[in-house]
């Protein structure tokens, strides 16, 4: 018997299924420089498009003179809003129910806005022609501060909708006001806050930043006028949605449009939206009859395609004097820029900001979010985040620290006192979410033990004494964070984008010789889908992951899906993969029963085969079944072995984690060095530990960037001050620490394999951990809260204001 048991284990290992640190199948082409990204696409007679952009943040466009540009040899066309208007393409719908100018229609509303599109034979001629387009502007007063948007002297930005009292998300009280979104119990929360022993208040600002993937956004459009077919390659995190939107906008029937996302050089939310460049490349290809490529440069990327965050979160948190939290109140002023182009599910204009009660059992809560127009670039995308979860997690994890200061209590103890207990799951939050599962205390205790939390606090206290005694000029911060995410959007009943339900899909074909092809509605941007989805399937259908090809991103072949963002690929498409695999297995069972001449119910599944119960020597492997499915006439069973699943998840998933950052701060220079970073993630069932660890390293580094220096900053005239990688902080290998990763495993009860998603957790949890470390370093000197990003200059200023340089 032991030999049989061993062979079961060996056969299971050979599948390289769930839980295996399988090496990535994508890496062969990437390490050899053979990836195929948008800018690698080269078609015969391909033209290049480039934008004339506004240097003003707010101005009327008096005239556009394209004559000199058109006369330049090699220039084929120059498009302006006037050219797009007859096609009704001078404006386009945003994902948030607003509309956005494709090319400036009478005025410009942010610096870098697209004004005209030049099409030329090569990129150099296009750039020359851009300089030859003469635009006459009349400058208008600029609005950059969302808190001044509704003052009597505020300029009206969106004259096109100035008189509309109702927007896509309800009543508008001012032309510069987009929506007010309220959740929870306002009166109840205010009553609790009015009566509580202790109330801590703070304005927590999560500054404007940008996903800034290594590859910028771009597209290649090719209109085949002979066959009436449009092919569009592009940096699309949601290719199927792009196809539908392109069809609705252009009037080309959807079956005549093929959208392809080739290899994508990182997305992080930047590539979810639809940009003017995509629309202009399509129109230019239709007009010229030639393929047209548009690829933005880095400055265009940072100043014109989707920013992230920019949430001013005013908070109040009420507790008993023993530290039991009673209520949470939050009012957020959300700076959306010139157009509301947030990429949120329709019913959630502030995304999942209402997860802001975090990991805590808070009986009463209220959240209101006001969306405001300013003269800044549109966006508000989920930068490595599930729709404003980053903002929510940062808010609550700062408020907890502020409350701990007010209570004069240890912040780790305060968290533990208020965690939702294991026995409370599924847990109904005060703001309306049903948390599916969790075990926060176990994770927290493991994290505190791993870093030696008590010793760290003792060391910190000693260092404060030494500092006061003049023995050191360094301080030490311990940054704590326990975050809960909400990912995997989502149930179609709650979640849609532009009316399209947020299911996802997988279609599987088993080939006669027992290998397989699976296609999904998602698209990898570095997450390794071709590796991990094959692992899910391998465990379901007993075919080695090495014998399964995963394809995504070509709308002509892949089943419809809503794409990859908001950590939804594993929770939704991963579930579809498992469910489609189960359909394959169900048919395989019927075939095996026929071949073995037993009843279906007399068979049991064992790794890669169906075995007759009680007769282990009688079995049919999946490989044998695959061959028979095509080549043997089986009464009542169609030939072939294929399945498709469109999965509508019953709930979101709720990954969580416990992060601790130990930071050393030089009070005189403001330099901050990460001494230790411990990250415990619970993403439910773990598909590929190697890839999970890689995702955590990467997400933490993006969190380091955001917390410690990365920012899209504007001056009072609306000039972008951080438009290049000289000014926009991306950590190098030199600034980036090593991370220590760990895990607990609490499977999701409703997901077919219990997986929850992990790609965004480290960004969601990392930012508060880094920021809390900086704030904590100065707690002993009276600091309650200081805003991110914590670059050296700002840290120095904090120390200076606290009198530590005296």
């Amino acid at each position: 018997m032991s030999a049989t048991a061993e062979s079961v284990q060996e056969r299971r290992a050979a599948l390289k299924g769930l839980g295996t640190s399988r090496k990535r199948v994508e890496d062969a082409r990437f390490t050899q420089g053979k990836g195929n990204y948008v800018d690698d696409i080269k078609l015969p007679d391909m033209l290049f498009g480039d934008f004339v952009r506004s240097q003003h943040a707010h101005a009327r466009v008096k005239s556009i003179d394209t004559s000199a540009a058109i006369e330049l040899p090699g220039v084929i066309a120059v498009l302006t809003a006037k050219d797009l208007e007859p096609l009704s393409l001078h404006w386009m719908p945003t994902l948030a129910g607003d509309k956005q100018m494709v090319l400036a229609d009478g005025k410009v509303l942010f610096q870098g806005q697209e004004v005209a599109f030049v099409v030329a034979e090569d990129r150099y001629i296009a750039a020359d022609a851009v300089d030859l387009v003469k635009v006459e502007y009349e400058e208008l007063p600029v609005l950059v501060d969302p808190f001044k948007a509704e003052l009597p002297d505020a300029p009206i930005l969106r004259e096109d909708i100035a008189d509309e009292k109702e927007g896509a998300h309800g009543a508008r009280r001012h032309p510069n006001h987009i929506f007010t979104w309220e959740q929870g119990d306002k009166a109840g929360t205010e009553a609790v806050i009015g009566e509580a022993d202790v109330v801590a208040e703070e304005m927590v600002y999560y500054h404007r930043t940008h996903p800034c993937p290594m590859e910028t956004c771009g597209s290649v459009a090719s209109m085949d006028k002979v066959n009436g077919k449009l092919t569009l390659w592009g940096t699309f995190q949601a290719p199927h949605v792009v196809r539908t939107v392109a069809s609705l906008l252009s009037g080309i029937a959807e079956h005549n449009i093929r959208v392809v996302s080739p290899d994508i050089g990182g997305g992080f939310g930047n590539k979810v939206g639809v940009y003017p460049g995509y629309v202009c490349s399509i129109v230019a290809s239709i007009v010229t009859g030639q393929p047209v490529k548009w690829v933005e440069d880095r400055m265009e990327n940072l100043s014109a395609t989707a920013f992230a965050r920019d949430y001013w979160m005013q908070g109040k948190i009420a507790a008993t004097k023993e530290g039991k939290i009673l209520g949470l109140w939050c009012h957020t002023t959300a700076d959306h820029g010139a157009f509301d182009a947030c990429a949120d599910p329709t019913k959630y204009p502030a995304g999942f900001m209402s997860i802001c009660t975090g990991s805590y059992d808070i009986p009463t809560a209220y959240l209101a979010v006001d969306g405001i127009y300013t003269n800044k670039a549109p966006g508000g995308v989920a930068y490595r985040c599930s729709f404003r979860v980053t903002e929510a997690a940062y808010f609550i994890e700062r408020m907890i620290e502020v409350l701990a200061i007010k209570l004069n209590m240890d912040a780790a103890e305060l968290r533990a006192k208020n965690f939702i207990r294991k026995d409370q799951f599924p847990y109904q939050s005060a703001l309306g979410w049903e948390y599916d599962s969790g075990d926060y205390h176990t994770a927290w205790d493991k994290a505190l033990d791993a870093v030696g939390y008590k010793q760290l606090r003792a060391e910190q206290a000693q260092q404060v004494e030494d500092f006061k005694a003049g023995k050191t000029r360094k301080l030490m911060g311990v940054g704590l964070c326990h975050f809960t995410e909400i990912v995997g959007a989502g149930p179609v009943k709650n979640c849609d984008i532009l009316g399209m339900g947020m299911f996802d899909s997988c279609e599987i074909r088993i080939h006669p010789t027992g290998s397989a092809l699976a296609r999904l509605g998602t698209i990898s941007q570095g997450q390794g889908h071709a590796t991990t989805f094959a692992q899910i399937l391998a465990s379901e259908i007993g075919i080695s992951a090495d014998d399964i090809t995963i394809e995504e991103g070509d709308t002509d072949t892949a089943p419809y899906g809503l794409g990859t963002y908001g950590s939804r690929s594993t929770p939704v498409a991963g579930a579809a993969t498992a469910m489609a695999g189960r359909k394959i297995r169900a048919k395989a069972q019927m075939i095996a029963a026929y071949l073995l001449e037993v009843h279906d119910n007399d068979l049991e599944w064992e790794v890669d085969r169906f075995v007759v119960k009680g007769a282990p020597e009688r079995f049919k492997t999946m490989k044998e079944i695959a061959y028979a499915s095509y080549n043997q006439a089986i009464p009542g069973v169609e030939p072939g072995l294929e399945a498709v699943s469109y999965y509508d998840p019953p709930n979101m998933t709720y990954p969580f984690g416990a992060y601790i950052c130990v930071m050393d701060i030089d009070v005189d220079t403001g330099e901050a060095g990460v001494r230790q970073f411990y990250a415990l993630d619970d993403c439910g069932t773990r598909i590929n530990p190697m890839i999970i660890e890689g995702q955590v390293h990467g997400g933490l580094t993006e969190a380091l960037a955001i917390a410690m220096g990365q920012e899209i900053a504007y001056d009072e005239l609306g000039n972008v001050k951080t438009g290049t990688l000289m000014d926009f902080f991306i950590p190098t290998s030199w600034e980036t620490p090593n991370y220590q990763t760990d895990y607990t495993e609490t499977p999701s009860p409703h997901h077919p394999i219990g997986a929850k998603g992990v790609g965004e957790s480290p960004n969601v949890g990392g930012v508060p951990a880094f920021s809390n470390a900086v704030n904590d370093a100065f707690r002993a000197f009276g600091l309650t809260h200081t805003h991110m990003p914590h670059d050296h200059w700002r840290i120095w200023q904090t120390a200076n204001k606290l009198g530590l340089h005296n």
Binding site: V295, G694, S733
Partner: protein, 162 residues
């Protein structure tokens, strides 16, 4: 603008291209010579995605006009290994998960290749300093550093046994 003919040796092959004096080397490599391994991430010399080797030095090929490369020997990621025999660095990046989206990878490996020529036994600090001109947004560098260290070790072991 008039084009000049330039002769280059790219990955061991003599090639010619026609370029205006203002054309950047990265554009000529990618658009005329079909060398699409080096990528464009910024065109301002910050990100390193376009890194190639020119006469034994790491060069960000968006920093150089193509005409400045006249007569030079250029090695790109395409010249480091081939599908039947990958370079040790390519093997180690795969083994240690030193890449995710793959966009920075050709430049990163090409840079690491030169680094190990200059310093065959680097410390972790040497590696971190040595590749700091190449940005990555996915990996947090930890596994890149691991891959480069592992490649150094294997190359040194091979050296020792031959």
């Amino acid at each position: 603008m008039s084009k000049q003919t330039i002769s280059l040796n790219v990955n061991g092959k003599s090639v010619t291209a026609k370029a205006e004096p203002r054309e950047l080397l990265i554009h000529v490599l990618r658009e005329q010579l079909e060398i699409t391994g080096p990528h464009i991430g910024c065109e301002t010399s910050h990100c390193g995605a376009c890194t190639v080797e020119i006469d034994g030095m790491s060069v960000k090929s968006c920093t150089l006009f193509a005409v400045q490369a006249q007569g030079k020997e250029i090695t790109t990621i395409e010249g480091l290994g081939d599908p039947d025999k990958l370079h040790v660095l390519q093997e180690k990046f795969k083994e240690h998960h030193g890449l995710q989206c793959g966009y920075c990878t050709p430049g990163m490996i090409t840079r690491a290749h030169r680094l190990l020529k200059e310093n065959p036994s680097p410390t972790e600090e040497d590696v971190r300093f040595g590749i700091a001109g190449n940005l990555c947004r996915c990996t947090g560098y930890q596994n890149i550093v691991k891959s480069v260290m592992a490649a150094a070790e294997e190359l040194n072991n091979k050296e020792a046994t031959t």
